[in-house]
Symmetry: C2
Subunit: 204 residues, 2 copies
């Protein structure tokens, strides 16, 4: 418990720092392979003109950081050494590398894990859960913590809906019982469907 309260303190410090820079900060949480990096790629390509930066959390490699750097996005890679979540201290240290690029939007791609990342406040404005249609309909009920704390749910890979057991309406009803404030964005980075609503939500 002491770990979380120390983290809370550092998260609030991050939040003050981000607010002072007028930065919009989005923490992306989801299972391995849910489509977090692909969503950042698609978002960066359509947000041209606005300065984006990414803090990228991975257990052992810098593979996602390299994928995003290849698109010219400023990225600070945090290799957590097997730790299964990012914490506020890691994010604080990583943002020092990005501050000189004066971003307007900061994405934090958390470690692929639907459990403990949702417990660690990083100082973000918005926690967005990323859920792919291929994971099954029952994930919100089985891993509710992330869905309770999130403000947005991005349902990815909707181009695969014809091939999987996943009913968008049924899942939307389920999550709204868990968190009535949740904004839901079904989309596909392959077809582009649903991306404009997500980009609008990210705001001016």
């Amino acid at each position: 418990k002491a770990i979380l309260s120390e983290n809370e303190r550092l998260a609030q410090r991050n939040r003050k720092w981000f607010k002072s820079l007028g930065l919009r900060v989005i923490n992306l949480v989801g299972s391995p392979g849910s489509g977090k990096t692909s969503l950042i790629e698609a978002t960066a390509q359509r947000l041209s003109g606005r300065r984006l930066a990414v803090i990228e959390g991975d257990p052992e490699t810098r593979r996602d950081a390299e994928r995003l750097q290849a698109l010219g996005i400023p990225v600070a890679a945090v290799t957590t050494g097997g730790v299964c979540h990012l914490d506020a201290r890691m994010v604080h240290r990583a943002f020092h590398e990005l501050e000189p690029t004066h971003p307007e939007i900061l994405f934090i791609e958390n470690v692929g894990n639907l459990l403990c990342p949702a417990d660690f406040d990083l100082g973000e404005d918005l926690l967005a859960v990323v859920l792919s249609v291929t994971e099954g309909e029952d994930k919100p009920e089985k891993y509710p913590q992330a869905f309770r704390r999130a403000k947005a749910l991005v349902i990815t890979k909707i181009d695969l809906l014809p091939y999987v057991d996943f009913d968008l309406e049924r899942v939307a009803n389920t999550v709204l019982k868990i968190n009535p404030e949740l904004r839901i964005f079904p989309l596909s980075v392959k077809t582009g469907e649903g991306l404009s609503a997500w980009l609008e939500f990210l705001g001016p």
Copy 2:
């Protein structure tokens, strides 16, 4: 570190107990929605005649346990209360419920998480990683710990191969570099393809 050595002690105790009963014990680890419960369902339906039992680990619900109980499989549900992995103590306690059913094969479905469950020995004979083709090709390199410790890799949902970016041969080559001993079982519970090789591997 003290937590892991206490866990090692309990895991060895479990292993002795399981060996004394002539029980084959398989620990299934994989991301949320990778297909662990579906694999147990398909295996149970085809192993008829052999007594199967399941220890089912879930963070907050008993949903998977109920799915398997509905098929008549003896299941001990372990609700971990948000803890992101099963440990040897939980498995020891759960197996007391199942011992009276005299199983020959015990499946342990771990909490959906590709990180810490691989660090906790439960006393199993075999750690099998479950990876779905929809998660992407890069998971073995990005989350190597589970692939290093596993003896088997079950690649699920191969019926979806025509619709995703996943090259079976390329992924097989990658994982064999991480762990040359790994046995690989591509399969689909929807079409039944590949299941017989997996059932043979589970043994007499």
